[in-house]
Symmetry: C2
Subunit: 226 residues, 2 copies
């Protein structure tokens, strides 16, 4: 499969419902992933599901998450570097944007406009120092583009305390709902307001740290986000 082709649908990336909303388009998936920075990472522990919010970064067709070497999912993912010899951790990584609340005349047809990406796969610990460095920069730059060049890089002690997991974008789907309510024809004359209440993320004014030297001004990459 070429880099420009879409992701190959699999049994678990084809939804049982609302198939018309599913997409395997690479650019759409990337754009949804790049607009967020908190994902919900699911894994199985003692047979039961666990879902935790965590930051992530993307480098091409690879997603990275990180955490303390003492954290549960990172310990469970074991070792495994560029050559990937470890069993790894089966995960499902999901990213969701809510773009609007959809109010229909009928309670039944209420909905939400959203864009989501679901990635299935096996996450493995990255041990290669160069890939770890790239991943950690990507994690910072994913939240605030350009920030990795304007902060102190991790030192040896910090690197030793940080585990990085990689999840390749292979079994991936996006799902998107847009537009207004889908009311039943016989409901259109009902006296209830219907339409969409748009929802978006809003950045506020940057709040400097209490101990920040007042001579250090807010960087342009930060005001660009507002």
């Amino acid at each position: 499969m070429s880099q420009t082709a879409g992701y190959e649908p699999t049994d678990r990336t084809v939804p049982t419902r609302s198939r018309h909303r599913a997409s395997y388009d690479r650019e759409l998936v990337h754009s949804i992933l790049d607009e967020a920075y908190v994902c919900h990472l699911g894994f199985v522990r003692d047979g039961a599901p666990v879902v935790l919010p965590t930051l992530y970064g993307r480098v091409g067709e690879r997603l990275y998450v990180h955490g303390s070497t003492g954290s549960r999912p990172l310990r469970m993912a074991g070792q495994g570097g560029g050559e990937v010899e470890a069993p790894g951790l089966a995960v499902c990584l999901t990213v969701t944007h809510v773009d609007g609340v959809v109010l229909a005349r009928s309670a039944f047809h209420h909905s939400v406009n959203y864009r989501s990406v679901v990635v299935h796969g096996v996450a493995r610990q990255v041990t290669d120092p160069e890939e770890r460095r790239i991943a950690l920069d990507a994690l910072v730059d994913h939240v605030v583009p350009g920030r990795s060049l304007d902060s102190r890089p991790a030192d040896a002690k910090e690197l030793a305390a940080t585990a990085v997991l990689r999840l390749d974008l292979q079994e991936v789907s996006a799902k998107v709902r847009t537009g207004g309510p889908d009311d039943e024809p016989e409901d259109l004359a009902l006296p209830y307001w219907s339409g969409v209440l748009p929802v978006a993320r809003r950045y506020g004014t940057p709040v400097p740290a209490d101990d920040l030297d007042p001579a250090v001004s807010v960087p342009a990459y930060l005001t660009a986000l507002g």
Copy 2:
């Protein structure tokens, strides 16, 4: 345990990391749950984790999610009403608010201010008609308070097509990070801006449906959200 006491910590609701950020306070948990309406629901299928975004509602110490009777998790949860006889579906339901991006002088100490709730438990299908009605109203009112009274209730056919799952709030924890960056003392003089970029949800101006009668004005409960 009384209704006012906190949730009892269990092995899986006590985090291995950042324990000082964990809370079992009932009011805090409720407030985090009530401010969002999209959760990430995790379950296990064929031994692998699945995480899907979905709407939810809360009625006291019960969470409800709903979906088509044909959807995978709802089919998997099987039957089980008020007396709960079915095996149900082991789930982890997670809700996360991002309140700010925390920029430290060091890449390592970059973080996010957030409030999250993680609920572990077994979700079971609700079959009692009265509880189903309460749950469906709660799902609509959770997104737009007051809306269930200002829309057409579900009819028999719509009710038959809708499955409702209940998840009791028993094994629950919240996790909260607030405040500025935790930089190392030796980094404080570095020339990098540090502080918090606030993040919040913003509602836009309601967009009426194309086929809405212009005589129907935007209801007060909607403008109250903006």
